[in-house]
Symmetry: C2
Subunit: 249 residues, 2 copies
């Protein structure tokens, strides 16, 4: 979903019908990536769209939101199947990071004003969406785009949810605002469509108290493995030439 | 200009204001590149737009149309300063190719129906536009897009102009339709804006009889250097795995 940026109009699934000077066309939805990571996805989308047109390839572009959670039915079968759980400033995603921060007693790190709103989904829904896309392939020559998320949250909303869930487990959860290392709007309109995967049969696992409890409990269970030096963001998009800090061994 | 493709609405200069579900925003104009050559430019534009936002870089993205002509005031000062004149299916551009074809007695090669319409400009205006963009830089953090062409023509219109100009010089100019090696619309709406460079002071050299005469005369003067095996297109976007024919030395 980071391909879209935060336009001041509704985000559609890949295409938008535009009426302009009395004529109408349905065109690729304008992309406004805000990192080279997201730009690389924009480039992929543009390249693949062309190959569909030129050579009749079938493609489904899953524009995925921010994933949270760590367990699926399969990984839960044995501890050795547990997945990685990223909590650092580069690979960690907002909700997962907040759970680890709450577990180790670190204040939740809200970047800037915290009004940044994005689409989120449970890791179990990620797997379900990929399965649905494969089971229901695109038409020949079709470049199909699905917005793959189930709910929208702002960073401040997530911080509040984790604070409340932490209190129930006896944790004293604080929140701090840290200077935003990214270049992004911190207060903005956000309304992204996400109906196509639902139409194919996606049954969302919405964010619930029990999921939050279980995420926090995973973080608490393994909190001795957390390297707290990885918690604060140490790559800044704002300052040219700032390099990730290397931690002495 | 190939970044834009051939949308069914007017092409603006880099950005379009869209009203959608009651809200309005000005967003990057949707791009629909129809070759990897044009895709590489789309990627450049997206990357540079991000760097302007993130680091306040000033950038002007010159979305140039199809260039014709070969001489500028400077290269005309001595024969050894003459520029290259591409007439092959890869580097050659429509009007220049037609002039060489007319000069050597090869039928003009119209791809498919010939309704393909694009923005064109004289090579002298290319130089003028680059100079104007440098002399009038973008604001700090601005990603500015100029559509750099002066007139629109369809391929059929160009073939007619060259036929007429050739007749005046005593050439018998024929036209053939060859299977289109590209994947592109052969009949389509096309109306692209190009006012920003004019506002900065561009004085266009529009396509005139005298320019066509001079182009044809250059082609006739050097026609003994033409390798006629390079005239027909030999790279097809339609067939996967078709490679350019190599010509035995």
């Amino acid at each position: 979903m980071g391909e879209y940026g935060t336009p001041n109009i509704d985000i559609e699934e890949g295409y938008i019908t535009i009426t302009h000077n009395g004529r109408t066309d349905t065109l690729p939805y304008p992309k406004q990536a805000s990192s080279f990571y997201h730009l690389s996805k924009v480039h992929d989308s543009n390249n693949i769209a062309f190959t569909c047109k030129a050579w009749g390839i079938r493609a489904t572009d899953l524009n995925q939101g921010v994933v949270y959670g760590v367990r699926t039915d399969e990984t839960e079968m044995h501890e050795e199947l547990y997945n990685r759980f990223d909590y650092d400033g580069i690979f960690g995603t907002a909700l997962n990071r907040f759970c680890v921060q709450a577990a180790v007693g670190h204040p939740l790190t809200v970047y800037g004003k915290g009004g940044q709103t994005r689409g989120y989904l449970d890791i179990r829904d990620t797997v379900q969406c990929v399965e649905l896309a494969i089971a229901n392939p695109a038409q020949r020559g079709e470049f199909r785009v699905f917005n793959q998320f189930t709910e929208q949250f702002s960073v401040n909303e997530l911080a509040k949810l984790v604070t409340k869930a932490g209190e129930k487990l006896g944790l004293d959860v604080q929140t701090i605002s840290v200077p935003n290392p990214r270049v992004e709007a911190e207060e903005h309109y956000y309304n992204a469509k996400h109906t196509k995967l639902i139409e194919l049969g996606l049954k969302p696992h919405l964010l619930s108290d029990s999921l939050l409890d279980s995420l926090l409990n995973v973080a608490i269970e393994f909190k001795d493995r957390v390297d707290t030096k990885q918690i604060m963001p140490n790559v800044s998009w704002r300052k040219i030439g700032v390099k990730p800090k290397t931690v002495a061994a």
